[in-house]
């Protein structure tokens, strides 16, 4: 952990948020394996520190774009576990009325401009949101979460170039979890740090320990301050690790046998737990209380999702267009 000491309350708040994400995703994986959910589930187990560190550095009025592995981003930005779980169940009470599912959680009121099923697509959308802040003369910052895989999409480069040229208030946060589905980033990219690409666009490129929530928090706080001051974008690369497969059920034959064990020792939640206890050895009971209350939150979320109704069949033709759906859409 960094030398600058955050308050005990801050650490406990971060701990709660990381527990919410871990428990939500483990529960989602369990329910998916039981066949209670359709589609695919992409968990972010092991990456909780990036979501929480980043979103805690933002203001409620700021915006994010999330990835297809976006449960953590959405929870960290204030998403309700119950409404998210209902969406994963395809229920009418979900964030997208059951029309988006796991990969497309959005809550525009919370500044969540959407998780995205297309790798890299959220990066220019975030830059566009930042352009809107510039045009409006307002002070919101937009943060784009994306993975190492997305950093090789063309729109990553286009968005960084325009954001730099126009000094847009945007933060590009690369969660380098080493794998794009099965392909290790080292096999398809010949630089050690994706953050080095910032040099090409004359913006700061910063590498942080993505499993250290405080390091992420500090880097994003600095980038947000810079963005709000009109100094433009920052590229932050958070080095982290995807503990589970690309999707639930992925046998992960592509990972070296000993790799995961090393990263497990650096589990972001265990690291934060140790940091809290180092600060205050008497905090163990409080940490357990947080775990218990989060467990209850997730259980309640599953109950809400289970009990919620499926969307009515008529819902299928709504929301294609703002108006005149009937004539254009109905069979």
């Amino acid at each position: 952990m960094k030398t600058k000491r955050p308050s005990r309350e801050t650490l406990l708040r971060f701990y709660r948020e990381m527990q919410r994400i871990r428990q939500f995703d483990l529960k989602a994986a369990e329910l998916f394996t039981q066949g209670r959910m359709a589609g695919n589930i992409h968990t972010c187990v092991g990456q909780e520190a990036t979501a929480v560190g980043a979103c805690q550095a933002l203001e409620p009025t700021d915006f994010i774009t999330a990835t297809h592995r976006g449960h953590g981003h959405c929870l960290a930005k204030g998403g309700q576990a119950a409404v998210m779980m209902a969406e994963l169940f395809g229920k009418a009470t979900g964030y997208c009325k059951g029309k988006g599912g796991s990969m497309h959680i959005a809550d525009l009121g919370l500044g969540i401009l959407g998780a995205n099923g297309i790798v890299g697509a959220g990066i220019p959308i975030a830059a566009g949101s930042a352009l809107a802040s510039k045009i409006k003369g307002s002070r919101e910052v937009t943060l784009a979460f994306f993975g190492d895989g997305a950093s090789n999409e063309g729109v990553f480069h286009e968005a960084l170039n325009m954001a730099s040229a126009w000094r847009l208030p945007v933060i590009f946060l690369c969660e380098n979890n080493k794998y794009g589905v099965s392909v290790c980033i080292d096999r398809v990219t010949n630089i050690a740090d994706i953050a080095d690409r910032a040099t090409a666009y004359d913006i700061p490129g910063i590498v942080v320990d993505g499993n250290d929530v405080l390091a992420v928090f500090e880097a994003v706080s600095a980038a947000a301050a810079r963005a709000r001051a009109g100094e433009g974008p920052t590229l932050i690369e958070a080095k982290t690790y995807r503990h589970r497969g690309h999707y639930e059920g992925d046998p992960q034959i592509y990972k070296p046998a000993d790799e995961a064990a090393g990263w497990k020792e650096r589990d972001p939640i265990a690291l934060l737990r140790a940091a809290v206890l180092a600060l205050d050895p008497g905090a163990a009971a409080e940490l357990e209380e947080i775990e218990t209350s989060v467990r209850r939150e997730i259980e309640d979320a599953v109950a809400f999702a289970t009990e919620s109704p499926y969307p009515e069949p008529g819902e299928v033709v709504r929301d294609v267009y703002a108006a005149d759906n009937e004539r254009s859409v109905v069979r």
Binding site: C96, L113, P124, A127, G128, I135, A159, M162, R327
Partner: protein, 325 residues
């Protein structure tokens, strides 16, 4: 009423909407300092400033997706893709993002984006600058598609498109930019999803849009001299489609010829012919005929290019054949 060109109609629509609504802004290549390659936004930079008329780098995929992000924040971007042929470069932003955002967020998100795309052949620009790609867009649920043929329709439809809460793809025909027509004064609006009967007739319905409306009118003129009274129906808006006006016309004339410049295979004309076959079979006295572009890449040589898209003679011949004359 005043007479202006199709290009001036676009320019007036953009300027009036920029003046009317602070949320409207223009994004695209060469739009600001140069005033667009077709000269449609000359003087806008001085009038509206660099935050409302933005010169982008040549990054169609990036800036179209950025327009989606800005639209999610309540702005109304009008993006020019210099040639419709470049839209495949930014198809993720159009088809996966703009078109699906409202639906996939359960109605939370609105993407009031207008994509202006000059299209069409006839300028000896060869295969990558001469296509008519409207069928690609009509195939994607969530997009609206307009293809006006006259200055009045262009101005009225473009203004409506800018005010519309959904993404609208506006197909402009490059060869129509210099054509002139009367445009009503004041805040002239044409609703999306309303076809226009450009020439009433009893014997057959010629369905067309964009530049081919003019070829159809020319054909109808020729046919009138032969005692054939053709109705020319300009769809103007492909999605939403004005099925009522189309169906009423065919129930009256009992025959239809569909004309478009896009290649015939997979064109929007096939979709219209299928709908007519499904719903109006009992009203038809003859099979629906399509007159469309050849299924080839647009060639460069003038000696070749003029053969690829329909001309009034092709349309008149199709009408005679449908009428059995």
């Amino acid at each position: 009423m005043k007479t202006i060109t199709y290009g001036q109609a676009i320019s007036e629509a953009l300027r009036e909407e920029l003046l009317r609504d602070q949320n409207v802004f223009i994004l695209g290549e060469d739009m600001a300092v140069m005033g667009s390659v077709f000269g449609l936004t000359k003087g806008f930079l001085e009038e509206f400033g660099a935050n409302r008329v933005i010169d982008t780098p040549i990054s169609e995929a990036g800036f179209t997706a950025m327009a989606v992000g800005a639209a999610l924040r309540g702005l109304r971007p009008v993006v020019e893709i210099m040639y419709v042929d470049f839209t495949p470069v930014c198809f993720d932003a159009i088809a996966n993002q703009a078109a699906k955002m409202r639906y996939m967020t359960g109605g939370q998100a609105s993407v009031p984006l207008v994509l202006r795309c000059p299209g069409g052949a006839g300028r000896r620009n060869a295969g990558q600058h001469s296509q008519s790609l409207e069928a690609l867009f009509t195939h994607i649920p969530g997009l609206k598609v307009i293809a006006p043929s006259t200055p009045a329709d262009m101005k009225g439809l473009l203004k409506t498109a800018i005010r519309d809460d959904d993404p609208v793809v506006c197909i402009e025909h490059k060869l129509l930019y210099a054509t002139k027509g009367e445009v009503p004064d004041g805040d002239h609006l044409v609703p999306l999803g309303k076809a226009d009967i450009k020439r009433p007739g009893r014997d057959i319905t010629i369905v067309a849009w964009s530049r081919q409306v003019h070829s159809a009118l020319e054909a109808a003129q020729t046919l009138a001299g032969e005692g054939i009274d053709a109705e020319v129906l300009d769809l103007r808006s492909l999605v939403p489609l004005d099925w009522e006006t189309l169906a009423a016309s065919i129930r009256k004339t009992h025959r239809a010829v569909i004309v478009h410049e896009a290649v015939k295979r997979g064109g929007y004309g096939g979709e219209l012919a299928a709908q007519i076959g499904e719903d109006l079979f009992d009203s038809l006295d003859a099979p629906v005929k399509r007159v469309a572009g050849l299924n080839v890449v647009a060639p460069f040589s003038p000696a070749l290019e003029d053969f690829i898209y329909p001309n009034p003679g092709d349309i008149a011949a199709a009408v005679r054949q449908t009428l059995g004359r």
